[in-house]
């Protein structure tokens, strides 16, 4: 026998189900009067530093149809490349930028929308800079465990070429699934759950 490590097991994930909007964006879901506003619906205010951008997109299933009952969260650095988080040790982030956003996909056409700013670059573990990116997390009915991925910017070709995560993708054409379309300030990031264009999802 040896000593017991004493670790607990992480609580198992379960699907967010068809009614995730009741819990996470109740005002959007038609339940008003419980919470004043939906959390994560505003990332910026008038004082936020950095270039304003909009990120829209859809989550597309294996039959080519957009999910109309999904929920997306994003997390990103501020314009100077600092996270608004207690775990950020390199300096104080812009207090007028939350860095975190939440958007339902619409019941009409399945689009999500984030009004945010373009993030600065943040370092990889070895100090090398990563290309500007936004972390995504996707949940919905039929998704058993939340999907992590990242969005990179189409106008950052040089930075993308040296990004340590993008470089880890073995098949080069699959790295393109993480680069948004559109152009500044309106980017489009479609997430494909399956098929030829399946987005690279992260076990991170």
């Amino acid at each position: 026998m040896v000593q017991d490590l004493g670790y607990l097991k992480e609580t198992a994930s379960q699907t967010a189900g068809p009614y995730v909007h009741i819990g996470l964006t109740p005002n959007f879901g038609g339940i008003s009067g419980v919470f004043e506003s939906d959390l994560g619906s505003a990332m910026v205010n008038d004082e936020t530093l950095g270039p304003r951008i909009a990120v829209t997109g859809r989550v597309i299933d294996g039959a080519g149809a957009p999910l109309k009952d999904a929920l997306i969260e994003i997390w990103q650095a501020d314009a100077a490349g600092l996270y608004n988080s207690p775990s950020e040790t390199r300096g104080a982030a812009d207090p007028n930028f939350t860095g975190w956003g939440r958007s339902p996909t619409s019941a009409e056409d399945g689009t999500f929308v984030f009004e945010t700013i373009k993030p600065g670059r943040v370092p990889f573990k070895n100090g090398r800079l990563m290309a500007p990116h936004i972390s995504f997390w996707i949940v919905a009915r039929g998704i058993n465990i939340g999907l992590h991925t990242r969005m990179y910017f189409p106008d950052e070709a040089a930075a993308n070429a040296e990004d340590p995560l993008l470089q880890r993708i073995e098949h080069r054409h699959r790295a393109e699934t993480l680069v948004a379309g559109g152009q500044s300030p309106n980017y489009v990031f479609d997430i494909h759950l399956q098929g030829e264009k399946e987005t690279v999802f992260l076990d991170i």
Partner: protein, 249 residues
């Protein structure tokens, strides 16, 4: 942001997820997962600062009734119909340490098994005094609690006769974006747990048992509400004793 400052700066990467413990993306017994599951291998990577960090949710954002689903949608002086219960517990990480300041959001069907949602078509009636959502933030010891009514079971289109056991959906936000988790809580003694295709997506019986809240008789409030205890475990962080010192220092 004193809550930010009070929290010790944690910079360790999170333990890798045990993907054999969680349900796989593709679980054909749950039919909707067939077209919504990634089929290519995930790209595995140690956390970077983008995953280690996460936002802070302050207790000041909470309203008085946020953790009282019996009253937070009810007309003044009225309350939701159903068996009154308290759900409480702790949020811990895999190292057994309390996760303070974790944001918990929960949603559920009413006592008849009906959700307040425009796409919901079950014939059970809406309760005019029940909305079905609430939230709480854990205290410095990782504790949370809320008041609600026990949700009803409900049928859903999957197999011809599939029913969900009574359950409460939980969304949990710990300290890092990589800890993000959505799960469901089930109730001790419910035989329907073992018939449910969504529960059945979880491959390990022990992982299912970890989602079943026991009746907590000791915390039951006489003449008012029974208590159920539901502890939640988030990914643990690696110790940073070694990682924070660049080579040669």
């Amino acid at each position: 942001m004193s809550e930010t400052e009070n929290r010790k700066r944690e910079t360790g990467a999170f333990f890798q997820r045990d993907r054999d413990w969680h349900p796989p993306a593709f679980a054909p017994g749950y039919k909707t997962s067939v077209l919504r599951s990634p089929r290519k291998a995930l790209l595995s990577l140690d956390n970077t600062i983008s995953e280690i960090t996460g936002p802070v949710f302050g207790h000041s954002m909470l309203g008085e009734l946020d953790n009282d689903l019996i009253h937070n949608f009810a007309k003044p002086g009225e309350s939701a119909i159903g068996e009154r219960i308290i759900v409480h517990g702790r949020v811990l990480d895999e190292r057994g340490r309390p996760v303070a300041g974790a944001l918990l959001e929960f949603w559920q069907a009413n006592a008849g098994g009906r959700y307040r949602h425009k796409k919901e078509s079950y014939l059970a009636p809406l309760d005019p005094n029940f909305g079905g959502c609430g939230r709480a933030i854990t205290d410095e010891n990782g504790y949370y609690g809320f008041r609600t009514i026990r949700p009803g079971a409900y049928p859903w289109p999957n197999g011809v006769n599939d029913w969900r056991p009574a359950h409460i959906h939980f969304s949990v936000f710990g300290h890092g974006f990589a800890q993000r988790l959505i799960t469901q809580m089930y109730f001790e003694g419910d035989p329907m747990i073992w018939k449910c295709p969504i529960v059945g997506t979880i491959p390990d019986r022990r992982a299912i048992e970890q989602l079943i809240a026991p009746l907590d008789w000791a915390n039951t409030i006489p003449m008012d509400a029974r208590a159920y205890k539901f502890d939640i475990v988030l990914r643990g962080r690696r110790s940073t004793f070694f990682e924070n010192r660049p080579e040669g220092n």
